[in-house]
Amino acid sequence: MITGNLKSSYATDEQVLNNRWKRLFLWLCIAGLGLIAAFGNNYIILIACQMGIMLIAVTGVNVVIGYTGLMSLGHAAFLAIGAYAVVIFHNAAGAIIPESLLTLAAIPFAVLVSAIAGVIVGLPSLRVKGLYLAVATLSANFIVLFLIEESFSAPWTGGVNGINTPTPNLLGWEMDTRREQFVLIATLAVLGLLAAQNLFRTRVGRAFIAIRDRDYSAEILGISLYRYKLISFAISAAYCGLAGALFAYFYARILPEQFELHLSLMLVAAIIVGGMGRTMGPVFGVIIIVMVPELIKVVFGALAGGGAELAMIRAPIQEIAFGALIVGFLLFEPFGITQIVDRGLRALNRWPFARG
């Protein structure tokens, strides 16, 4: 039971980590990441990096869908923009900016470009709500990929064949192994998560939630729907742009098909599974969404030992499992894993005096 929760100032009452268990949990998480960076084998590093990149993107999607209540099915487009922005920036500015500063400039550039794209894609949100917006963003996803693939942009983007990506270089530290990149990804993911948490302790985040819950009421409090919907889109697109930039650095080559609708759906699925409008939602969601296909892969590996027959049906089964996760959570736990965790913590907190 957590006791001794008495506060003597508003400042302590406003803290997010308002008891030592929460603080302990945060430090344990950071220590865990450190351990992975130091001792994780290649497979663990690979999975952790994938999760980190996804986490950044899903945190962004959570801002716009979970907190602001604007349905978007096109956020893969912003990852694409971020990823291609990095590559194009490296190729275009490589001659002017010294190698050691290139990454430091390219990532903000990618984030900025994505944020601007977010404002443009978010424009329909001023006029339409709910599912119109879902379709508008979905359309944006198709259109962005089309623009990347088309022949007029092929000299910069490589068209459908994709393009090779540069190695990140932070002030002379060339991150040419995945382990080094993991440090970068994990740091940015943790910072991103903390920043998102901060957002919702202030007027900006509260305005988002107000728009989600009751938009006319938000307006009467002086919240400009126009401005805040666009800010929300811009922030979420910026997160996705950052994720895209890291994605480009992480893989040797990027292809338009990596940013198709499926990725957008994965981002949305992650917050449904994890819990919409909750800070930890993206964390839980990403772990599940990345781990389930991996588990299926492992199980299949054990069963078939690489048999071609079984390998053929692995991909469809992974796809079905992915859909089943969305459907299952919506039907049985619509508020996601955070809800399960909350329930567990509450029970733990009351134990042994009461159950549930």
């Binding site: 349905m71 119109y132 879902a134 379709v135 359309s139 198709f142 049906i313 079905i320 089943a324 919506l330």
Partner: protein, 334 residues
């Protein structure tokens, strides 16, 4: 000018099929307020069912000979000596395929109806009365389930499926221009338009149509007025899945069968929103406009451009008219 006319007509024929697909989305939306993002994948299942019953079943060892190819003596007699591209020969070939086409259509209709019912009963009904967001996201999850299942069930490669009508080339003159089309395409358009019109008439003039409209207006009031809302839901889903089956069969004959058929659903979704979601007329016009624009884009700019026409069109329309061309604007009461 001649080219323009030709492409315009091609576009109208494609537009009619879009309209047929759209009718499923609109009907489900009208009854349940849910926009079915997985409708394209229902259509894909329709196409695969048609393929199963029109190609796989007749090929099976136990299937009677006439199911595969029905050639009574009089037909062989008539067929003899006809030149290669004679219209009569095309009609006879089609007749020979008749039994398996009918079996394919019947199988696709029944199986898809059952699939629609299954989805409605097991997935949509438990969420009845809950947030529309959850229901829409559920259909998004359905996308993956359906597309994965199809790949599991039908591993064989796409094969040629028999067209619904004699595929004889037709040439005629219009405003002094030679126009060239295939009979099957024309028949597909007629089928699509007839079904579309029938459904609109059904919703407008029959009792179950009134029930659908009442449910669309206000679910709980309709329920308390003695309308069985769950029944309306199932009917809407069956309607969507059966029209989807026919659309799937048509698409299978036009574009071949592949999991990519599901993507049609998204462009049609764009068309539906462009037309206004709950307006059959608006959706019909939008389908025709997009069909023609696609054909023109294909002609002038190339195939890839045609693919994004619906998405660009819907964005433009939404920005100018947020509720589509003919959609009802909901007046918000505060």
């Amino acid at each position: 000018m001649g080219q323009l006319l030709q492409y315009g007509i091609n576009g109208l024929m494609a537009g009619a099929i879009y309209a047929l697909i759209a009718v499923g989305i609109v009907s489900v939306f009208k009854a349940t307020r849910v926009v079915n993002f997985a409708h394209g994948y229902l259509i894909m299942f329709g196409a695969y069912f048609y393929f199963t019953f029109a190609v796989l079943v007749p090929q099976a060892a136990w299937a009677p000979e006439w199911l595969q190819s029905w050639r009574p003596d009089w037909m062989i007699e008539m067929r003899e000596g006809l030149p290669m591209f004679s219209p009569l020969a095309a009609v006879l070939d089609w007749l020979a395929n008749g039994p398996r086409i009918l079996l394919g259509l019947a199988g696709a209709l029944i199986c898809n109806a059952l699939l629609g019912l299954l989805i409605e009963r097991t997935l949509m009904r438990p969420l009845m009365g809950q947030s529309v967001f959850a229901m829409i996201m559920l259909t998004v999850g359905l996308i993956s389930i359906l597309s994965g299942s199809a790949q599991l069930i039908w591993t064989s490669d796409a094969e040629f499926v028999p067209a619904l009508a004699p595929n004889t080339p037709i040439r005629f003159e219009l405003f002094g221009q030679m126009i060239f089309l295939f009979g099957a395409d024309l028949a597909n358009m007629v089928i699509a338009l007839v079904i579309f019109a029938a459904i609109v008439a059904m919703v407008r003039y029959t009792k179950s149509g009134v029930a659908i409209r009442a449910t669309a207006e206000d679910q709980s009031t309709a329920y308390s007025m003695g309308i069985s809302v769950p029944k309306v839901f199932s009917r809407a889903w069956v309607l969507a899945s059966t029209t989807g089956a026919i659309a799937g069969a048509i698409l299978a004959t036009r574009n071949g069968i592949s999991p990519a058929l599901g993507l049609f659903g998204f462009s049609v979704l764009a068309i539906v929103l462009m037309g206004g979601l709950d307006s059959y007329l608006g959706v019909f016009l939008a389908a025709m406009i997009v069909g023609v624009l696609e054909a023109l884009a294909q002609w002038q700019l190339g195939g890839e451009w045609a693919e994004i026409v619906p998405y660009v069109a819907v964005l433009l329309v939404i920005l100018i008219r947020p509720h589509g061309l003919f959609g009802t604007r909901e007046i918000e009461r505060i």
